[in-house]
């Protein structure tokens, strides 16, 4: 099953998406972890998380965005302008970060999507901000109903919340199985599963995830030099994780946007659906775009370090990513105060040349923390 997971997650328009489209289904793309995808799901639309899968080409994107913009956003824009996401029937923007906003503005300016909607997400969790975001979710719901001529009832929304929570439960289970001394999944495999979760219909993912979990129940990954946690910026690069794991640094947990931060907080299935979504997508959001709750992000990392018994933490950020670039410094200082070794790495997204440098840095880090083969 993991081979099938890897195969599907390596392709942008995967077989499952093609089948969905062939059956007349709609697909709407989003990029940011703050997007309340349940609204799309409730309308019978497949929410699809935009990804670049390590695409190193940015020549077209660079004539719109600048070289001072994050290479992940430039890679995504490149694919968008090349037509890799032409299967999508709409696009949802959020103000996740300044680079993401620029990416969407240029995408819309150069190649407008048939449907485009902007969900505005506050940077704080004050009562006023929460109230504003709840209203923002209601407006989003109305816009989807209007565009796609469908009615999203509270019941259909609750069903969608249950479906999306079922995805999160599977992912949490996979992460749980990585805590053992001999983990059941490698970090690269966990990323493949994660990528699949936001690129196929929920039921399909749950079936595949259940099969993968059953297949790997007794699997034991051994022979690594150290147990590492990977944290930092948007990174959907299996190649990067493979490079780290190839030199013996097994990623046993993470604090990534394309990773644990996207599914860690459970949604309240019994609460008012809009409030439940506002809570999980804003109040519980673990993202450095939030400016008033660093201690919560730090505690999340510290708990993960303890639970997965990691030997060291690798914090990465894509060059020019301000939110992660600064948060990583705060985290490094706080982790080092607690004698947890940290490797802070700035990288260029999708750069093959950078992978070699990163391998070398990780090798040195493993030696520094005493991880011998």
């Amino acid at each position: 099953m993991m081979e099938e997971v890897a195969r599907l997650s390596e392709t942008i328009e995967n077989d499952s998406v093609k089948e969905w489209k062939a059956g007349g289904g709609k697909v709407v793309g989003y990029a940011c972890v703050c997007t309340p995808v349940e609204i799309l799901d409730a309308a019978g639309i497949l929410p699809y998380r935009i990804r670049a899968l390590g695409n190193p080409r940015t020549d077209i994107a660079d004539s719109h965005l600048a070289r001072f913009n994050c290479s992940f956003c430039r890679s995504c824009l490149q694919l968008g302008l090349e037509g890799a996401f032409d299967f999508m029937d709409g696009l949802i923007e959020t103000n996740g970060c300044d680079h993401l906003r620029g990416m969407f503005e240029n995408w819309q300016y150069v190649k407008p999507s048939p449907f485009f909607y902007y969900v505005k997400v506050p940077h704080q969790t004050t009562p006023d901000a929460m109230e504003y975001f709840e209203e923002e979710i209601r407006l989003f719901r109305g816009a989807i109903e209007q565009e796609y001529g469908t009615k999203i009832t509270d019941e259909s929304l609750r069903d969608a919340i249950r479906r999306q929570e079922a995805i999160r439960e599977r992912l949490r289970k996979v992460y749980d199985m990585r805590k053992a001394d001999a983990p059941a999944f490698t970090g690269a495999e966990a990323l493949s599963l994660f990528l699949l979760a936001s690129a196929v219909p929920p039921d399909r993912f749950c079936e595949m995830a259940d099969a993968a979990i059953a297949e790997r129940k007794d699997n034991k990954v051994t022979g690594y030099r150290a147990r590492l946690m990977l944290g930092g910026a948007a990174s959907d690069e299996p190649e990067l994780i493979k490079a780290i794991e190839d030199v013996g640094g097994l990623i046993v947990t993470d604090a990534l946007c394309y990773g644990a931060r996207a599914f860690w907080s459970p949604i309240d299935l019994d609460a008012d659906p809009v409030k439940a979504m506002a809570d999980v997508y804003l109040r519980d959001l673990l993202c450095p775009r939030m400016y008033d709750d660093y201690p919560r992000r730090r505690d999340f990392v510290l708990n993960a370090v303890a639970e997965a018994r990691v030997d060291g933490v690798v914090l990465t950020h894509n060059k020019f990513c301000d939110v992660h670039g600064v948060d990583n410094v705060q985290l490094r200082l706080d982790l080092e105060k607690r004698d947890i070794p940290v490797l802070q790495l700035e990288k260029v997204y999708g750069s093959k040349a950078d992978v070699g440098r990163i391998r070398t840095r990780v090798q040195a880090f493993l030696e520094r923390i005493g991880g011998k083969a």
Binding site: E105, Q124, A129, Y291, D322, V323, G325, E346
Partner: protein
């Protein structure tokens, strides 16, 4: 420790070093001779001398002295406030200082203004504080405008603020993150004023809620409710300053512009520091008077005004003489930059609520907040740039390409295209750091500007004049 026993300790920290210079400025006469200027400049280290040479050029000297004395007063207020137990609040440039002037027991200190002074007028141009921040691991793509001053605070060997207001949430990740970092690192409170990226009525109402919530938090922190009488005095002064600001705008519409290029920097320097205080009014009145004198005399530093340039983002603050004065001497007028675009509205003074509402609206429409904090960064920016380019008769746009500004970099290609199509103005995209002299030398920037004007702007004008001759036949 002083190297020589008994010698006074050379101050450390950006604030302290700039303040030392300002103490000297406070003592100079309002109008002093060329000989005295040469004497002062000869005593200064080269980095400082260059800046003072620019500020004390004959044609801007009176206004420069007024401006620097205003800044000296502003810094002294912070020193005295600290000594007397009042709260010194570090604010970013896109915060309304008049709100803090309305408090009896709080004063604003604007980080980017301090960096601009340090980058222009201290030996080493503030690099050591940038380097300190880099040493902690702060990424080199952060904004030097805030990081230089905040880096100095991080050394814990400089004048320290009691709290930080961060009002860049929604408009700038880089600044929001460094504010958060410094507040956490130094253990001082941070008050966030978020601008929703939403200019609908709902978004405006949300901003109002955020603003009033921040005012409440500030009142609690300072231990004082804003007094209506004091607020009225501040708002009346804001209104007077706004009148003077618009008088300068009107003067700039003349060609050649009678408003010296450097005044653009002085105007927003007033806005970001002493707006709502008599010192800002005094400084603006001098600028208006000086510009009127130039208009009456037909003075312009070059033989002709060759290009009227709209700086679409900020300028460069690493060499005031090399940018503002040099441009003017070539016949290139610096009409405005984005920091000039704050469009102050008269604030009704009837009630406390009306006055606070007026300040709130000024904050919501402040430079950068209004453009980068808008629903669409490019649309809001283009609207302002095109409106002002038309108002001022700009021939071209110049984008400084400050490295850290990912928001403007991410949409400059759209702005450039729209400005050309809708206002006929070509845009030069430079690359440089506006506050770090070590990135792109001023000589290279001058060369790019010069080539652009000569090869694009002037040539673009020529066919137009040919066309108008044909039409007149």
């Amino acid at each position: 420790m002083p190297i020589i026993a008994g010698a006074p300790r050379v101050p450390e920290g950006l604030f302290n070093r700039v303040f030392q210079m300002m103490e000297m400025i406070e003592r100079v006469p309002d109008d002093f001779s060329d000989e005295e200027v040469r004497g002062i400049i000869a005593l200064m280290p080269s980095d400082v001398a260059d800046t003072l040479e620019g500020f004390f050029a004959r044609r801007v000297r009176t206004a420069s002295v007024a401006y620097l004395k205003m800044i000296a007063r502003w810094m002294r207020d912070a020193k005295e406030a600290k000594a007397s137990g009042k709260k010194v609040i570090l604010v970013p440039f896109n915060f309304v200082p008049e709100l803090l002037h309305a408090f009896e027991n709080a004063v604003p200190l604007t980080s980017e203004v301090l960096t601009s002074l340090g980058a222009g007028a201290t030996q080493g141009k503030g690099h050591r504080y940038w380097d300190y921040a880099m040493g902690l691991g702060i990424p080199d793509h952060l904004c030097s405008a805030s990081t230089i001053e905040l880096g100095s605070m991080l050394t814990e060997d400089d004048f320290e603020a009691d709290a930080i207001i961060s009002c860049t949430a929604g408009a700038c990740d880089a600044n929001s993150k460094i504010h958060e970092f410094v507040a956490n690192y130094l253990g001082i409170p941070q008050f966030i004023l978020e601008k929703p990226v939403d200019d609908t009525e709902r978004g405006i109402e949300q901003y109002r809620k955020n603003f009033y919530s921040m005012v409440q938090s500030l009142e609690d922190f300072v231990g004082e409710r804003i007094d209506e009488g004091r607020l009225r005095d501040v708002v009346e002064k804001c209104n007077r300053a706004a009148e003077l600001h618009y008088q300068l705008w009107e003067l700039k519409k003349n060609s050649p512009s009678p408003v010296p290029n450097l005044f653009s920097f002085f105007i927003y320097g007033c806005r970001f520091t002493m707006w709502g205080k008599q010192e800002a009014i005094d400084c603006l009145e001098i600028m208006v008077a000086e510009s009127r004198k130039r208009l009456a005399a037909g003075d312009y530093p070059a033989a002709a005004e060759i290009a009227r340039c709209a700086w679409l983002y900020v300028g460069y603050y690493i060499d005031y003489n090399g940018l503002f004065n040099w441009m003017e001497e070539q016949g290139y007028t610096y009409l405005f930059d984005v920091l000039d675009l704050f469009f102050p509205e008269p604030i009704p003074t009837g009630s406390k609520q009306e006055m606070l509402d007026g300040i709130c609206e000024a904050a919501r429409t402040f430079p950068m907040t209004r453009q980068m904090g808008a629903d669409s960064m490019s649309v809001a920016w283009i609207d302002d740039a095109i409106h002002m380019a038309r108002e001022m008769g700009a021939d071209c746009g110049i984008y400084c390409g400050h490295h850290a500004c990912k928001q403007t970099w991410s949409v400059i290609s759209i702005v450039q295209k729209e400005l050309m199509e809708r206002a006929g103005a070509p845009t030069l995209c430079l690359q440089g750091d506006a506050w770090l002299s070590g990135m792109t030398p001023m000589s290279a920037l001058q060369e790019d500007i010069d080539q652009f004007v000569k090869n694009v702007v002037v040539k673009k004008r020529a066919p137009r004049s040919v066309r108008s001759k044909k039409n007149s036949r």
